[in-house]
Symmetry: C2
Subunit: 202 residues, 2 copies
């Protein structure tokens, strides 16, 4: 194998994936074809099979890439000792991440791609992202799993409604602070400060 052969492979795979994201944004997550991908990168369709064994494998790689970006976005949220500030920043970052790329949101969080199941390999970044969220929440004293679940429902709901019903506007985006504050109020009421919560009702 020539020097840099693996790098060339990786670069080609990357070029293909970037073309796929662009095509997906233009034609929908399931609205682009192997021939279109090939045309976008300047080869013929069969050549793609040198780099990906199937179209499913391409979706799988996109899923991994999207989740890695999500994990990075979670890690990039500035950490604050103030719970309200921290959650406002987290909510804003999450909604921004989702709205920035609706197709990515659909692939990562809505799972509406018919028949698609990510491989364990591609699911790993998603686990890392969730762990990062868990750690950030623990940092401001939120440790109950059901609280985290309620949070993810709240912020994915904001993003989903924004994208589905006001894709060009900010009708739900501008509710992120209010949503975070509402959530904080629940915590303050349930937890009575910052003590470790017990088994009381959510």
């Amino acid at each position: 194998m020539a020097l840099g052969g693996e790098d060339r492979q990786a670069a080609a795979r990357d070029k293909i994936l970037r073309a796929c994201w662009e095509l997906a944004r233009e034609h929908g997550l399931s609205g682009f074809t192997m021939r279109q991908i090939a045309a976008a990168v300047g080869v013929r369709a069969p050549s793609l099979y040198t780099y990906f064994t199937s179209k499913h494998a391409i979706y799988d790689a996109m899923f991994a890439e999207g989740n890695a970006a999500f994990r990075d976005a979670v890690l990039a949220v500035p950490s604050s000792a103030n719970r309200r500030e921290q959650l406002r920043a987290a909510a804003a970052a999450f909604v921004r991440f989702c709205v920035a790329d609706p197709v990515r949101f659909q692939l990562l969080f809505q799972r509406t791609l018919p028949g698609f199941q990510p491989s364990p390999r591609s699911y790993a970044p998603a686990v890392e992202a969730l762990e990062a969220m868990r750690a950030a929440f623990a940092h401001v004293g939120i440790t109950r799993p059901d609280h985290l679940d309620l949070w993810t429902a709240l912020v994915t709901g904001l993003a989903s409604q924004q994208l589905a019903n006001d894709p060009a506007g900010d009708r739900w985006i501008r509710l992120t602070d209010a949503a975070a504050d509402m959530f904080v109020a629940l915590l303050d009421q349930a937890g009575a400060g910052r003590t470790e919560p017990g088994a009381e009702d959510l």
Copy 2:
């Protein structure tokens, strides 16, 4: 035209639509074909075009039907003078409606069907449903549009997370009461009772 000709047409259309819902639940919203529909109702594919001009027209009819069911579900929520009880019931009814038919949820609220745009005719029931929600909220003193938007984000988020991440369980379903209570707390804090709210921040 023979007596009952229109009834026969309507009955045939209805039979086709019921087959479509069943196929969609089995194979996904975009995972069934005209031939499969035809086989399910006992005719050949071309015969379907007597009742629907295209597959898009079928989706359009499904969209209208789903929204009519949603409107009816909203109207069926028992009315309570107690705000908290009312919202708990509304949240539970909404999530139940969504989880009962994931494909319907996807068609009505997620809008991920590539290229699908409902006709004005089919959109009408959706407007009626939203108006019913607005009226129910007004009944317990909630009149601000942004409050209604936050509510829809909250409950669609619960349904979406439930379907995407725990389709066989109840991990988010069991958070509906807590979500409703959290929302009520926001109202009680923002509105200071039941007086007509002004322009204060959400």
